[in-house]
């Protein structure tokens, strides 16, 4: 009897937890979509911020553009480093000890809070290298933030790639570089792109690292790597933090969320295609 009650309680517990998570997900998206949908229109997406204080009227085009540029720079910076580090760990590194050390280092990097990365970007890139608050400085800071995330996923993909093809390639005397560029990258391309897009989503949504390194309250669409940028998350923060316009804040949040959803969908579709092609 007691067992039965316990089992029932257990069942209720896990179902309730699952329901809570589902409810939270639906609530968050529903809330933003419901409120944001009213104030979103073509002018908002393609216009410049206007009004006094700035942002109370008009649109967010420079912020959308700024966020996209920041994400692209961060992704390029992080993926170049992540792919080469993964290649090194999986195919070059012979000693287990060095591999462990590299893994520990990457784990530590993943654990550094984004605000500390912002501090680092500020002192090294903005102050010492005199990049000023710029697209480049903020992009690199974001790149450092997502590097561990991409690296872990790509390394996993490399390890899962069938080693027979690679060994046959070596056996045929094909060179290292050819094997990597034509074979391994080809086999793992879905995972790599999926990891990068997912990480791009994280970079796009992060506000803490760019507050100190590049985001400003107003800037036109950036013309060079050294110009300051607007970014959606920071714009959203300013709109609420300074109490400028709640309506615009909802719309900005909706745009940010939609961009992230698109990115996540792309990543998920890629994983599905990969599964289908291997099955």
């Amino acid at each position: 009897m007691l067992e039965n009650i316990k089992e029932l309680l257990f069942k209720i517990w896990i179902i309730l937890s699952g329901a809570t998570v589902l409810f939270l997900t639906l609530f968050i998206f529903g809330y933003i979509i419901k409120h944001g949908f009213r104030s979103i229109n073509i002018e908002f997406i393609f216009g410049n911020p206007k009004g006094i204080p700035l942002g109370a009227e008009g649109g967010v085009l420079p912020a959308i553009a700024g966020s996209l540029f920041l994400t692209i720079i961060a992704c390029i910076f992080a993926s170049v480093l992540a792919i080469s580090t993964s290649i090194y760990i999986v195919y070059y590194c012979k000693s287990k000890r060095i591999e462990n050390i590299i893994h520990t280092i990457i784990q530590c990097m993943a654990g550094i809070p984004s605000i500390v990365l912002g501090l680092f970007g500020y002192t090294l890139l903005v102050v010492n290298l005199k990049l000023e608050r710029s697209l480049l400085a903020a992009g690199i800071t974001l790149g450092i933030m997502i590097f561990p995330f991409i690296q872990v996923r790509i390394e996993k993909a490399f390890r899962e790639a069938s080693s027979t093809i690679i060994q046959s390639s070596y056996a045929l005397g094909v060179s290292n570089s050819y094997t990597f560029l034509k074979l391994i990258l080809h086999i793992c391309k879905f995972e790599i792109v999926s990891a990068i897009t997912l990480a791009g989503g994280f970079a796009m949504g992060a506000a803490a690292p760019i507050i100190l390194t590049g985001a400003v309250i107003f800037a036109p669409i950036p013309k060079s790597l050294l110009s300051p940028v607007m970014a959606l998350p920071f714009h959203l923060y300013i709109l609420i933090g300074e109490g400028i316009s709640l309506e615009k804040a909802y719309a900005t949040a909706l745009i940010l969320i939609s961009l992230l959803l698109i990115i996540n969908m792309v990543s998920m579709v890629l994983i599905f295609r990969k599964r289908r092609s291997t099955e």
Binding site: H103, S177, Y237, I240, A253
Partner: protein, 288 residues
């Protein structure tokens, strides 16, 4: 010709790897270098045990015990709320989903983890804080509790995915014997999967603790940011929000500027320790 390309390729890979590993060294060196200036003026002990933070009054009146306590307090509140829900959902997912559904639920949890913290903060401010003020009639809605509730939602995805990873493995390992004995799924979850995944749950808590302590924007928007001794229903401040708010005001090279780096260093050291513990616990699980 191929030999040359190969050689270049090898060197480039090695240099890039070295560079990416050096980033961590650079981060530590730079944060340390900027903090050491501050520690020459104010002793480390005074910095982390004093309770006053007043950059405007006297330049050496900077110590962050209240802020450290605030950071820890809000993170623990978040974990206490999130842990039962996260573990329950983890069990549910590892037992009742498979194949395609597993990928889809994973995707949903990834999306939940990918919602930017500013958006969480925005919703927290308009829903949780407003609820405290309007419905429950608290003097201030911006409080440690509001921050804790919001953070618990944000760390849920990390707890769920870490837990369900371990639980999946344990479930698969024992599925055959359990089916042979004719036990129900739910019985197996309660008697085998849950107790066996203790280590995984601990790892999840540690990961979530790290995430919660390093969180900036969301917490900053709902906690009121007052460097006083933290109480559950009062305002408080965390280290990340302190840095984000005051860095813009601090003049480069001033003691205030260096003090902010020093608090960043304190936060970083706490999180590095947490992460190394997480790494070894997780490694222990995989070896088993």
């Amino acid at each position: 010709m191929y030999k040359l390309i190969d050689k270049i390729f090898d060197t480039v890979i090695k240099l890039l790897t070295l560079f990416s590993l050096l980033i961590l060294v650079f981060i530590i060196i730079f944060i340390f270098k900027e903090s050491i200036v501050f520690f020459k003026e104010v002793s480390i002990l005074k910095f982390i045990t004093g309770r006053k933070w007043n950059p405007l009054k006297s330049p050496t009146d900077l110590s962050i015990l209240n802020i450290i306590l605030g950071t820890l307090y809000v993170s623990f509140v978040a974990i206490i709320i999130a842990l039962p829900i996260g573990v329950g959902t983890g069990l549910l997912l590892s037992i009742y989903t498979n194949g395609k559904w597993k990928v889809i639920t994973r995707g949903i949890i990834d999306i939940l983890a990918g919602i930017p913290s500013v958006v969480y903060g925005f919703i927290g401010l308009l829903v949780i804080v407003k609820f405290f003020e309007a419905v429950l009639d608290f003097p201030t809605g911006e409080s440690v509790l509001a921050g804790g509730i919001l953070l618990s939602v944000m760390i849920l995805p990390y707890i769920i995915s870490t837990c369900s990873e371990t639980m999946d493995n344990i479930y698969k390992e024992n599925l055959f014997s359990s089916e042979a004995l004719g036990t129900s799924k739910i019985y197996m979850a309660r008697k085998i999967v849950l107790p066996e995944s203790k280590k995984g749950i601990i790892a999840a808590v540690i990961l979530a603790l790290g995430r919660a302590m390093g969180e900036t924007m969301a917490v900053m928007m709902v906690m009121g940011n007052t460097p006083i001794s933290p109480k559950l229903l009062k305002r408080a401040q965390t280290i990340p929000s302190l840095i984000a708010l005051e860095m813009g005001m601090a003049e480069v090279g001033s003691l205030h500027y260096h003090a902010l780096f020093a608090s960043g260093l304190v936060l970083m050291i706490m999180l590095l320790i947490i992460n190394i513990i997480f790494y070894y616990i997780k490694k222990g699980i995989h070896v088993r």
